[in-house]
């Protein structure tokens, strides 16, 4: 499934009634089976872009569509949230089944599909736990399992690991890469972490500060599957330096505000 974002702008009205331009003329194509990271300083509208693709917001200008075949019983998109956004009143299993419930999947089939994703994300044995009983890393595993359970053609991830501690984040990145190798989903991955973007993605789309525009698209010339040792390779270092030079001034500006 391909994601096409064509000349998309998003305008907000602030409290004083002024119009704020969060995104300005974004053009972006994410190919099938491609892992694209959208990176930018805080306030660049990268989460807004993801919400637009998810259909949780409407663009003010431009159009967004998905291009490809969608087999029945599968969702077009699914989202993984920075703050996990698990339902506290649902057990792990019931959280993972949520999207399937809304799709009208029968109970037995729901349980089967949820169980499969729970096994795949290392959550076996935690089915009856409530989210508050889990660590941050385990909670986000539930978030990922919930998203994968609906069999999405496109996986949208909004800074999924930025609320985790550094060690957990590293491990979760590797798990996500393994999941991607296995499923080859189209992934749009929003982050503000340059290393993370380069380590995970095929291509990094760099956004400017508000109004968010595409500053550059940086292709990551690293082989798959990715390995931790690659962070020392020239291709990795170059990509990181290139991106940092692009957004350094913008980040400094944001700091002064």
């Amino acid at each position: 499934m391909r994601v096409v974002v064509e000349r998309v702008s998003k305008l907000y009205a602030d409290r004083a009634g002024h119009t704020l331009r969060a995104l300005d003329g974004i053009d972006l194509v994410v190919d099938a089976e491609e892992f694209v990271a959208v990176l930018g300083p805080s306030g660049c509208g990268k989460s807004t872009l993801l919400n637009l693709i998810a259909g949780l917001l409407a663009p003010s200008e431009g159009a967004i569509w998905l291009d490809g075949e969608l087999s029945p019983g599968r969702a077009a998109t699914a989202m993984v949230f920075q703050e996990f956004a698990l339902f506290p009143w649902r057990t792990v299993q019931a959280n993972v089944e949520f999207g399937l419930e809304e799709m009208g999947v029968a109970a037995a089939e729901r349980a089967r599909r949820a169980r499969y994703q729970l096994d795949m994300t290392g959550l076996a044995g935690f089915e009856t736990k409530y989210p508050h009983e889990l660590s941050g890393g385990m909670r986000q595993r539930v978030g990922i399992a919930r998203a994968l359970a609906v069999g999405p053609a496109v996986l949208l991830m909004d800074e999924p690991f930025s609320a985790l501690d550094a060690q957990t984040r590293q491990l979760m990145q590797e798990e996500l890469l393994a999941i991607w190798e296995r499923t080859r989903k189209t992934i749009v991955y929003v982050t503000h972490n340059i290393h993370e973007a380069v380590y995970m993605a095929d291509r990094v789309v760099v956004l400017s500060r508000r109004p968010g525009r595409v500053l550059a698209e940086v292709k990551v010339e690293l082989p798959r599957p990715r390995a931790e040792a690659m962070i020392a390779e020239p291709a990795f270092v170059h990509a990181v330096e290139r991106i940092w030079s692009l957004i350094r001034d913008q980040a400094a500006q944001a700091l002064r505000e």
Partner: protein, 263 residues
């Protein structure tokens, strides 16, 4: 130089005086009993706790107490259920739908401050002297705290969770049922507790007018006949009703909100 480091925040930790709780209750009863036994206060004004207990047992055996209790509980449960259900429905509607909020908020704000007892004569006029007016006044008393608490609970529902639900295909009704209602449940239970207090108050008030049964009638009637011990039995039963409803709601809350109880 050696500077001793001690826990300066020790006084901030509050010890739990469990024993003292029991002593407080027992102390009151014993003091009361002792005062009654001195004979300085006539039984007409202050019957002894043991006397009240004996009278209560006698009334229980004769079936008198049970008759009053059943009549009261029927009114209480019916009024509570009607007012509670209406309160939740109105609270969700006003909290979720903008049009319902525009209509509901000023109406609730205008009617909420009316002391519900003042409406009793009006309700009797409309519904007659029988059961409906009694149930109605209790339902009204429960309705307002339930509607307002449900409204607040609905408003406190996390927008992120609503968006997450929508991201996974939930439509309006699913969001209400699967996100907003469970989010509002703790506030709904707080409303039930508030409602229980109001309901008891209105029950007694309603049973003091034109009825022949109920704990409120028992208290008023015994007072008129200067049967102070019987009156006290009524008051003790009422306070037991209050305590039991508090416990019962707490138990129900732990059952209905398991994701909180185990934290």
């Amino acid at each position: 130089m050696r500077i001793a480091v001690v826990n300066r925040a020790a006084f901030l930790t509050r010890p739990e005086y469990r024993g003292l709780r029991v002593v407080a209750v027992l102390g009151l009863v014993i003091a009361w009993e002792a005062l009654a036994r001195t004979g300085r206060v006539p039984v007409l004004f202050l019957p002894s706790p043991l006397g009240v207990l004996a009278e209560g047992w006698e009334m229980l055996r004769s079936g008198e107490l049970l008759g009053h209790l059943t009549a009261s509980l029927q009114r209480l449960v019916l009024g509570f259920a009607l007012g509670g259900a209406a309160g939740v429905v109105v609270g969700v509607a006003v909290g979720f739908f903008a049009a319902a909020e525009a209509v509901g908020t000023p109406l609730l704000a205008a009617t909420f401050p009316i002391p519900k007892i003042a409406l009793l004569p009006l309700l009797i006029l409309w519904l007659g002297l029988g059961e409906p007016s009694k149930v109605a006044v209790i339902a009204l008393g429960v309705f307002f705290p339930m509607a307002i608490n449900t409204f607040t609970g609905v408003r406190q529902a996390d927008p992120l969770l609503m968006r997450a639900a929508v991201a996974f295909g939930a439509r309006r009704w699913s969001v209400i049922r699967k996100v907003i209602l469970p989010s509002a449940l703790p506030m709904i239970f707080a409303g039930l507790r508030l409602g229980a207090g109001t309901a008891l108050l209105l029950l007694v008030a309603a049973e003091m007018i034109a009825v022949e049964s109920g704990i409120g009638f028992l208290v008023l009637h015994a007072g008129n006949l200067m049967q102070t011990t019987k009156l006290m039995v009524g008051i003790v039963v009422l306070s037991l009703l209050g305590v039991l409803s508090h416990w019962g709601l707490g138990w129900l809350e732990r059952l209905a909100i398991p994701w909180r109880a185990s934290s």
